[in-house]
């Protein structure tokens, strides 16, 4: 069971990393295209920077999920050291449940918000793209975070252990 869930989470991590990487590649090209068109050809390209921001929102929220997969979210570690050593595994498990619960609650709120935007039919002024598409990554990201931390709560062997390179 644990290895199947682990394989699923690894596959999800690879997919999310690929999509997030594509977003950052795309946004870099869009900002560069804007500079080139403005400075080189004296043409405006307002669509570029606006779409770049949408891609950043997708990449940024996916990045939050990727960070959980690596176990590198910023945290104040000094406080957990007050627990006796024998208690710490249980404290860590409760902590994972708490993170999952928080992400699930925020994911639900985000889903409600995006549904409202979708129902109102809002579109981007410059891009003409429905706004809910840009926002959809918020509930997805929290759903992915919930899934990951639930798995870490139930199966401690799946929890990532960050190394030296992760400090950077």
């Amino acid at each position: 069971m644990s290895s199947r869930v682990g394989s699923f989470l690894n596959g999800l991590h690879r997919l999310e990393k690929w999509v997030a990487g594509a977003c950052f590649g795309g946004l870099s090209l869009l900002v560069l295209a804007d500079i080139f068109l403005r400075e080189g050809l004296h043409r405006s390209f307002p669509f570029g920077p606006k779409l770049a921001i949408d891609l950043m929102i997708w990449g940024g929220f996916l990045g939050a999920s990727l960070t959980s997969a690596r176990g590198t979210h910023l945290r104040a570690e000094a406080f957990e050291k007050i627990w006796p050593l024998s208690w710490r595994p249980a404290v860590e498990t409760i902590g994972q449940w708490m993170t999952a619960a928080f992400c699930a609650a925020l994911g639900y709120l985000a889903f409600s918000y995006v549904r409202e935007t979708h129902q109102m039919g809002e579109v981007g002024v410059v891009t003409g793209i429905p706004v809910w598409i840009s926002q959809a990554m918020i509930p997805y990201s929290f759903a992915s975070l919930t899934l990951r931390h639930l798995a870490y709560a139930v199966m401690p062997s799946l929890r990532p252990r960050p190394g030296l390179e992760d400090l950077a």
């Binding site: 590649g25 870099s28 940024g60 590198t72 104040a76 570690e77 000094a78 957990e80 925020l106 030296l164």
Partner: protein, 420 residues
Amino acid sequence: MSVLGLFALILVLLLFAQPLFVIMGAVTAYCYGVLGDGQSLTGMIEDIYFAANKDLLLSLPLFILAGNLMTQGGIARRLIRIATSLTAPVPAGLSVAGVAACTIFAAISGSSPVTLIAIGSILYPALREAGYPKSLSVGVLAAGGTLGIIIPPSIPMIVFSIMAGVSVTDLFIAGVGPGLFLALLLGIYCVFRGWHLPRGRWSLTEITQAFREGTLALFMPLLILGGIYSGFFTATESAAIAVAYAVLVELLFHRELKASKIPAVLGETAELLGVLFLILVLAVSLNKYMTFEEIPQGLVQTLAASIQSPVAFLIGVNLLLLVAGCFMDAVSAILVLAPLLTPMAIHYGVNPVHFGILMIVNLEIGYLTPPVGVNLFVASSIFKESIGSVIRAVGPLILVMLAGLGVITFVPKLSLFLLK
């Protein structure tokens, strides 16, 4: 009662080692749902979306990506060669070269631990082989690495700009003077500590070859800062130009990055940005709530009643930030403290750009102070020394940096002289 509930919530989350994004999110949700004037929790998500929908945020992934691309190959080796060729006849020249290489590398990477790893892992064995004392070698590289966040481009400066509403361009320009000043102080310390060590000679051939190999890497900071300072590019645009320059240089000239590796570098950028992005948008959302409720203004009025002098304020705020730096990393401290302290600084007549630089220099010192000084752990790991010996080695350098902080605090011109 409601405020007590907020503190209890934070305490429980800290005790269960919750990530900062959970703490920030739970506090924001509590403020919106319990303390707020009927603002709905869906409104909080709307604020998160608007916080993420900002032009300036684009500069974060772009600078991280440019730094990642430039550090894929042997750029650190090239910069070290330039620095060692120039500092050969200086007393303790190799350690001075370490400071110089960290300074230049900082202008490419924007991260303190990355700077320490890149320069330290190459230069530490060379320093020890040349007979430099262990304490000097460890200390100067760990301290030199901290320059990563004060010399632009700097991720904490972008975060401060978003949280305090200060121009990131001004912050980048203002960081140059204090960054070079701190590097100078570290260099002077090396010269005094290593006065007795053997010196080399300048070799025109070596200097020429070193520059031939490393000029393209040296040009990147000039491109970024020159573009911003001349007003030709915004910070975001200069970050995009830096990405294009990094790809061209590493693919076509240095040939140390293969095109097939670029998707992996993009993925690593997403992982690095993920550490910041969620807490940043949640913090901006919380900041919006605090501004709406006029909390910073209330704090300013309370503080103004007890502290009259700007000097007392600056001393107090430096002490607060030094303590915060002992327990929090730079970005977390900026997210929490910048929206509260910047209005106070403005009230006492401190230029907000100068205050941003002060905040970053204080938190830069935090990279060297236990219990959570990141550079201590990185140095201990890459130099294979105990944490205790690293702490002893950086002790005198912390004093040097505190002296520098004192000058930067009370000589605002050092930060502001380049601003138009």
